[in-house]
């Protein structure tokens, strides 16, 4: 039993490798902004460990740089990171072999990438999820650690090119479903257009509104039998 848990955790960690390829450079980018904003190396790394929210942290560090009030920064983070409620619900609804303490740990390490990667997984064991998500989390902290040490050594073109890596991952995860199922493809297109339009009016709220509205539309245009991660 212990061996199979460990094995599943390792399998999950292997699945996280494409995520780490994006997280380490992105973590370095975050550290660059945080240090520029006057945060110490310890504060920079602690934030990655405790907050663990890619975009949220970069926005927070940028706001520290412009001397925004703590309350404004915290409220902005709340709005930007509210989507994790939806992702955490999805992940925890999918996991098997779990209990409340493991769920709480899993909740803290739930981000866009671990959630997306797990939705592809055929095995829904909590240990697979923790393998994916904890590896991703540590690589994000490692990126911040590397960033505070060797800041500004990387040329801008290289760091800019790494900015694409997480989007490449998202596109790569989504493409097979779009290729195989026309209804999902239409739903993805509708949601993308919806978010492009709503982001003009709603700013940071747009992502979560579009995600939920898209899923609501999907209830009517996607057949039940085609759903990813469904057991039936």
């Amino acid at each position: 039993m212990i061996i199979s848990r460990t094995q599943k955790f390792i399998d999950g960690a292997k699945k996280a490798v494409p995520i780490t390829l994006g997280y380490v450079p992105m973590g370095i980018g975050y550290a660059a902004i945080a240090i520029k904003a006057g945060m110490t190396p310890l504060e920079t790394i602690s934030m990655s460990f405790l907050v663990y929210a890619g975009a949220g942290q970069i926005i927070a560090a940028s706001m520290v740089l412009t001397s925004a009030t703590a309350m404004t920064i915290i409220l902005t983070n709340f709005v930007v990171n509210l989507r994790y409620f939806v992702m955490s619900t999805c992940v925890l609804n999918q996991v098997e072999e779990s209990n409340t303490p493991l769920n709480i740990l899993a909740a803290h390490v739930t981000v866009d990438e671990s959630f997306a990667m797990f939705s592809l997984s055929e095995d829904s064991s909590i240990w697979i999820y923790l393998g994916i998500a904890i590896t991703a989390w540590l690589s994000w902290c490692l990126g911040a650690g590397i960033g505070v040490v060797l800041l500004d050594l990387l040329p801008v073109i290289v760091t800019n090119s790494f900015n694409i890596s997480l989007y490449a991952l998202f596109v790569a995860i989504l493409t097979p479903a779009v290729k195989e199922n026309r209804q999902i493809a239409i739903l993805v297109l509708i949601t993308a257009i919806l978010n492009i339009v709503l982001s003009q009016f709603l700013g940071n709220w747009s992502l979560i509104v579009s995600t939920l509205a898209g899923a609501g539309i999907g209830m009517y245009i996607v057949d039940d039998k085609y759903l990813m991660g469904s057991d039936d």
């Binding site: 949220g56 990171n81 090119s161 989007y167 596109v171 739903l187 993805v188 919806l194």
Partner: protein, 104 residues
Amino acid sequence: MDYIMLVILGCAVVTFIPRLIPALFIDKLDFPPKAEKFLNLIPYTALAALICPGVLTVDNQLWYIGLIGAVVAAGLAWKKVPLGAIVILTVIILIGVYSLVPFF
């Protein structure tokens, strides 16, 4: 409290609470089939919303850089290239694209 410590701890709390709530209540919930379908659709719609329009801001000056990256990644995924290789190849191709930008 120190300004930066307040920011870090405040952000940690408001980020953790939305993640935590499902962990405390999920065992007590038994979602009806309609809700299961809704939750199963979320990965697709969340990814669509994460990609568009965010991918166009990969480079703040050159919007097409992100678009090229997305098209390359989609093309590689279409050909069933493994995820890790897609990420690496897309980054390498973008470094190549950047080296061509000064010529246009």
